[in-house]
């Protein structure tokens, strides 16, 4: 790579053509070597180079600036996002973009859905298969969720349920939680008592609506 290839045309012309990129350091090594070799031998081209450097420096330092900014772009993205979500019929390119945007929105929705499903599954996994997600809660739906200590015995659980007039609705879920039904009027006090019991890790009210 280091050896100097000869000029294919007039060396003066080629040197003058490549001069700008010699100044900015953008020539290939062999081009640079060739041009520099010619410059070393040619006074005219060297003078030309000095003038060109002056021009290059002036152009680089020209005060050209605009006062435009991100705000207009942000507004445009918002508009596009709205259009992408609500305009179904459009030319191919537009549709492709729309599909991408909707894909993004769907991905975001999917992420949110996954989170919701995780919660829902923990609570509802053991329910009967015909229990649709959108159906109205059954008359004896759960209204509290309880996690017992892993070493809690069944006798402890039965004792707690009986003492508090609570009924086991579902469970255990994958996270070993139980869904209980507690008389509404006593729920707060019962949950307080459960939390105070050594066999209970967690006891929280469960409102089906809040999960939707």
């Amino acid at each position: 790579m280091a050896h100097i290839l000869p000029f294919t045309t007039d060396p003066h012309r080629e040197t003058r053509d490549l001069m700008p990129w010699l100044i900015t350091g953008r020539l290939e090594p062999e081009e640079k070597a060739r041009v520099e070799a010619h410059l070393a031998a040619c006074e005219d081209c060297s003078r030309e180079l000095a003038g060109e450097r002056a021009l290059a420096g002036e152009v680089a330092e020209l005060p050209i600036a605009t006062g435009i900014g991100w705000a207009a772009m942000r507004d445009r993205l918002d508009t596009a996002a709205r259009q992408a979500a609500f305009v179904p019929a459009s030319p191919p390119q537009r549709r492709r973009f729309t599909a991408r945007r909707i894909g993004t929105i769907l991905a975001a929705q999917a992420a949110m859905l996954a989170a919701a499903v995780t919660i829902t599954l923990r609570v509802e996994a053991p329910t009967a298969p015909y229990h649709a997600l959108g159906s109205t809660p059954a008359a004896v739906g759960g209204n509290a969720i309880v996690v017992f200590r892993p070493d809690a015995r069944e006798s402890d659980i039965s004792r707690l349920l009986k003492a508090n007039d609570a009924r086991l609705v579902d469970g255990p879920t994958a996270a070993n939680a139980y869904v209980l039904h507690i008389p509404d009027e006593a729920r707060t006090q019962v949950l307080d008592r459960l939390r105070g019991d050594a066999a209970v890790v967690l006891a929280e009210p469960l409102d089906t609506a809040a999960l939707r």
Binding site: T24, G51, R53, L55, A56, G57, V59, I68, A72, L77
Partner: protein, 199 residues
């Protein structure tokens, strides 16, 4: 002009750093992350604004074309195949958009007032020194065709090689060299001895 070459070196170093940043941000843009896009916008904004203002000479058009350009980057990020540098791809979009905007204006692309401008003659209130040189140079640039102006700006301000410029302007490398040669000759003639004061 030893100062000039120092400035060039610094810009090149910054240029390399920017390329790594480019890759990181563009990954975010591909994933349609708006934060990454905003960062990329802010990174390219000064360079694109300068490039477009130099090319278009119409500030009100610069914002429109610049935003059109980066919007394509956002919208069509999946069409960038990495065959060129990201900056080359973005500048090529900007160049196409700018030329389209100029054609749409249906105005002569050359400076319409060229004949009415004094060529280098001093007005009574003409500024002196460096400021004056810059003003004369801006006037001289305005008299070039947009293509010639573009090659000069991409070479001396954006410090791009002729191959990269050819990719942006979608023309043969020899055309870039020829345009640059003619542009320089015009500029130096139009500068009318201004530069000689700096030698």
């Amino acid at each position: 002009m030893s100062d000039g070459s120092v400035a060039h070196r610094q810009t090149v170093e910054i240029g390399n750093a920017v390329t790594l940043e480019d890759a990181r941000l563009f990954a975010g843009v591909l994933a349609q992350e708006r934060d990454a896009f905003e960062a990329l916008y802010r990174l390219y904004h000064p360079r694109l604004a300068r490039f477009l203002l130099n090319l278009l000479h119409r500030p009100q058009l610069v914002e429109e074309v610049l935003n059109d350009t980066v919007f394509v980057v956002w919208e069509r990020s999946d069409t960038f195949r990495g065959a060129s540098k990201l900056s080359t791809w973005i500048f090529a979009i900007a160049y196409r958009k700018a030329m389209k905007a100029l054609r749409r204006l249906d105005e002569p692309v050359e400076d319409r007032d060229a004949d009415m401008r004094p060529s280098g003659g001093d007005a009574p209130d003409a500024p002196f020194g460096r400021h004056r040189t810059q003003e004369v140079l801006l006037n001289a640039l305005a008299k070039l065709s947009p293509d010639h102006r573009t090659v000069v700006d991409l070479t001396y301000f954006h410090e791009m090689g002729y191959r990269e410029i050819a990719a942006i302007m979608d023309c043969p490398v020899d055309t870039v060299k020829t345009r640059m040669f003619h542009a320089r000759r015009h500029l130096r003639r139009l500068m009318d001895g201004e530069l000689a004061d700096w030698l």
